[in-house]
């Protein structure tokens, strides 16, 4: 009698063998290729692996070897990652390639994250959300599903994720020598002005580059930006804020997050969250990069205006006619993307892009999920979560399009 667990492992092995690619001439694009389920191996000294899980609050780094697609990278550093997804049972991991050898990269990358899909039983939400952003031309980390083995033991389904760091900045913005900050959730915050004391901004925005510079060098432009959100006059709002923030990019990202029902993003239920802030070198202009989308795709009818009133920046930006138009146009663009059918398909009722992607990825990760014995949910919960995502993909486009057209400036009211 073959147990379901053994069967699941056998299916996983078959999928991994089918997805194995030749080792030659591999790039970061191959690593983040979500067309296959990839296998990744980590070896960590058993003492270190015990300690890493014994102290889940610690960010202590431990040496490891990593193998992917026939290539072994020795002396990488791993540490526990994640905030809400932090787990000692199924640890989310950050892998640094340059920790023990300054300047070293792997496939041009300084680091990767191995996200554990701890808060998403479907395992699909982050993959689909970041892919939506990227497909819409918004800078966002690349991701791919992997089956992770640690010390020759299967550790389950993970998502290998591009870190927001210098290589990412080069790819997204063509330069990487500016100031990069990771947003740390401290309390409910809505971009209100916190005064001239820079410590308040430093508590939320942790420097990821140029961290040794003075507080003033790091945070004076951030303070000025947030002050401008609040204090610029209505007439002067767009030009004044545009000195500090790429407003068009912000509005497009906010719209994309609304379309994908991101409940824990810039305008989410917990205030501002889950993003990086990047200030170009020698300029005061900031860009926002999304991160951690495990709370997206939550409700079919997630409102398109969630958080607009609470968030100072959004409340004022949406009052600007041009920015308001951009916001709704982007919502419609996202809805159209969700529902777009294959170019060669004449049937308009055929599954849209988002549903096709969800179904394809589901088929890819199902063996990894079933073989994953330490995931914090059952296989039934996984299937239920996946069904929610498929249903969202089928319906969300229509909802977003309908609502956006209702509120778009100049649109006829729809009743």
């Amino acid at each position: 009698m073959v147990s379901r667990r053994v069967l699941a492992r056998a299916m996983l092995a078959a999928v991994l063998c089918a997805g194995a690619a030749p080792a030659a001439a591999q790039t970061a694009d191959d690593l983040f290729n979500d067309q296959t389920l990839q296998r990744m191996d980590l070896w960590v000294n058993t003492r270190d692996w015990y300690l890493l899980r014994a102290y889940p609050e610690s960010n202590e780094r431990y040496p490891a070897n990593l193998k992917w697609n026939g290539q072994t990278v020795t002396n990488v550093a791993v540490r526990l990652g994640g905030m809400g997804s932090r787990s000692a049972v199924k640890p989310a991991l950050r892998v640094d390639f340059d920790r023990y050898a300054a300047g070293r990269t792997f496939l041009g990358l300084k680091a990767i994250s191995l996200r554990n899909s701890y808060q998403d039983p479907s395992g699909l939400r982050e993959l689909l959300t970041m892919k939506t952003y990227r497909t819409m031309g918004l800078p966002a980390p690349r991701m791919a599903p992997v089956a992770l083995y640690v010390n020759n033991t299967y550790y389950g389904y993970y998502i290998v994720t591009e870190e927001v760091d210098e290589p990412f900045l080069s790819r997204a913005y063509g330069e990487n020598t500016g100031h990069l900050f990771e947003y740390r959730w401290v309390t409910y915050y809505y971009f209100e002005y916190l005064g001239t004391a820079l410590d308040a901004y430093a508590a939320m925005y942790e420097p990821r580059t140029r961290g040794t510079e003075s507080l003033g060098s790091l945070y004076l432009p951030v303070e000025a930006m947030i002050r401008t959100f609040s204090q610029a006059s209505d007439a002067d709002f767009e030009p004044a804020v545009s000195q500090y923030l790429d407003l068009n990019a912000f509005m497009r990202l906010a719209a994309a997050q609304a379309a994908i029902a991101e409940a824990d993003g810039l305008l989410g239920n917990w205030g501002v969250n889950n993003h990086y802030l990047y200030r170009m070198n020698g300029r005061n202009l900031h860009e926002i990069v999304p991160w951690d989308a495990s709370s997206s795709i939550r409700a079919l009818d997630y409102p398109l205006h969630a958080g607009h009133d609470e968030n100072v920046l959004m409340r004022r930006a949406i009052a600007d006619p041009a920015l308001r138009l951009l916001y709704y146009d982007t919502l419609i663009e996202a809805a159209n993307l969700f529902d777009s059918v294959d170019a060669g398909t004449a049937d308009a009722s055929a599954p849209g892009w988002l549903e096709r992607e969800a179904s394809r990825l589901l088929g890819l990760i199902r063996p990894a999920m079933y073989a994953d014995q330490i995931k914090p949910y059952t296989n039934d919960e996984f299937e239920a979560g996946a069904a929610e995502v498929i249903a969202f993909a089928q319906i969300r486009g229509d909802f977003v399009r309908w609502e956006a057209r209702r509120f778009k400036p100049g649109a006829r009211p729809v009743y």
Partner: protein, 470 residues
């Protein structure tokens, strides 16, 4: 400043005391004194062993019981009891370039020690020594506390706390060092003091000398080990015993050379011990300050050392050289692969050598230590000696050369680094108690990025040290 004034005061007192003492006592080693030339005011455990091994203990300098001043204060009761009070105070002013801390030149104590040594009958010698070697008085500790029993010159037993027998320069007491600092290889790779038992002796008319001992740990060099936190159900990491053996030969004693030329001594030594699991490998320190190879890597298992040494005093000149290799095992410290979890890693190897030469410009003999013929304030200027030393010390993995070097604490091929240094110096022996040393040291690191001053191509240290000891 109070410390500086204290040293200056002691310096002046020593000069005056020397002048008065010269009128009262007959110096050891002087014609007619009946005592051999003292190797220096501060005897080491080795010098006790040496002086007591070849012949019966010398009779007291004067046939006087009770309190005596024979270079130092002491008590004498015939042949059956002897006690000498020993003290040493050394202070130094040093400056470094680049001056990273911006401190300029600053005075600091280098050694302050007090102790007693002597004998009970002709068969038992003892020594007790307390003090500290650093500016920080927290480091004060009992240093040498031991008893040596000598039923025969070739079969002696020494027990207590004393230096593990390894390394010519390590076993040389501070007052007899030719330089302010020991060589990097000696300072870094030799074990220092521990509690143990040692069998030792001298045979064939001092042609051969041997020491074999077992000690409770690997000594106080380096001073602090950091055992790793034990996992559940795991015994705490323990430091194991260290075995040590050393042998030297003096081949020129077989020849007809005059005594002042036949002191050539060649030897070898070996230690084997176990240090607790953790980041406990030997680390490379610069003279400049800071490490060039810090304790970054996990080790577990035996630590072995192997050393070769040679020293020769030829009239007013001397030459000494040592070559030392240390190896720290890393059993089960790797991160693994498909084939094996937690594999053994190549040992961390420290390998270094030095060669040093000295010449007493004023002509005194080097053998047994420089004893000024004409001390200051006694019709002369003291003795002046010039010194030079070149040395190298390097740490690396003893294997895995094909793997890229890494700073990972479990790297098979650790990021290597080395320190090459030359030292030029002048020693002024003011009298038998007071000595002034000035050294210029230039260090060059193989990989400055791993050192204390990543932007500096070389590290320079100038140090002036004065010491008073009896």
């Amino acid at each position: 400043m109070r410390a500086l004034y204290a040293v200056i005061g002691a310096f002046a007192a020593a000069l005056l005391g020397a002048a008065q003492a010269a009128a009262q006592t007959v110096p050891a080693g002087a014609p007619g004194s009946g005592a051999p030339a003292a190797p220096g005011p501060w005897l080491t455990i080795e010098s006790i062993a040496i002086s007591s091994a070849g012949a019966p203990p010398p009779p007291p300098a004067a046939a006087k019981n009770g309190f005596v001043w024979d270079n130092r204060p002491g008590l004498r009761y015939g042949d059956w009891f002897q006690l000498d009070v020993r003290a040493l105070v050394e202070g130094q002013v040093r400056s470094v370039d680049p001056d990273l801390a911006g401190e300029g030149s600053a005075f600091e104590w280098s050694r302050r020690r007090i102790g007693i040594q002597g004998s009970v009958t002709r068969y038992v010698q003892y020594e007790v020594d307390y003090g500290f070697d650093e500016t920080d008085e927290e480091t004060a500790d009992w240093r040498d506390v031991f008893v040596n029993v000598r039923p025969a010159a070739f079969a002696q037993v020494q027990g207590g706390k004393f230096k593990i027998p390894f390394g010519y320069e390590r076993l040389t007491g501070p007052r007899n060092l030719d330089f302010v600092y020991r060589s990097r290889v000696s300072d870094t790779l030799t074990p220092g003091r521990s509690i143990g038992v040692m069998f030792h002796g001298r045979a064939f008319k001092r042609l051969l000398r041997y020491e074999v001992g077992v000690f409770e740990d690997d000594g106080d060099r380096p001073p602090e080990l950091e055992p790793i936190e034990p996992l559940p159900d795991e015994e705490p990491a323990q430091e194991g015993r260290t075995w040590a053996a050393r042998a030297t030969v003096s081949p020129l004693r077989l020849t007809a050379l005059p005594g002042k030329y036949n002191s050539l001594e060649i030897g070898g030594a070996y230690t084997r011990g176990t240090v607790p699991e953790g980041r406990n490998h030997l680390q490379g320190d610069t003279v400049f300050g800071g490490e060039f190879f810090d304790r970054q890597y996990y080790t577990k298992g035996p630590r072995t050392r192997f050393g070769l040494e040679a020293s020769w005093a030829i009239g007013p000149a001397s030459v000494a050289a040592e070559y030392i290799v240390s190896r720290d095992a890393r059993e089960g410290q790797g991160v693994g692969s498909e084939a094996q979890l937690d594999p053994d890693l190549p040992e961390i190897e420290g390998r270094g050598w030095y060669i040093a030469g000295t010449w007493v410009v004023t002509g005194e003999n080097r053998d047994g230590g420089v004893n000024p013929k004409r001390p200051l304030l006694q019709g002369g200027f003291g003795a002046v000696e010039v010194t030079a030393r070149y040395e190298q010390l390097r740490f690396a993995s003893a294997g895995a050369p094909d793997e890229p070097p890494s700073r990972s604490p479990r790297a098979a091929n650790v990021a290597p680094n080395g320190d090459r240094a030359w030292t030029l110096g002048v020693n002024w022996y003011v009298n038998r108690w007071v000595k002034l040393r000035v050294n210029l040291i230039n260090e060059t690191l193989d990989d400055p990025e791993l050192g204390p001053a990543p932007d500096a191509s070389s590290l320079r240290t100038v140090v002036a040290q004065f010491g008073i000891g009896f």
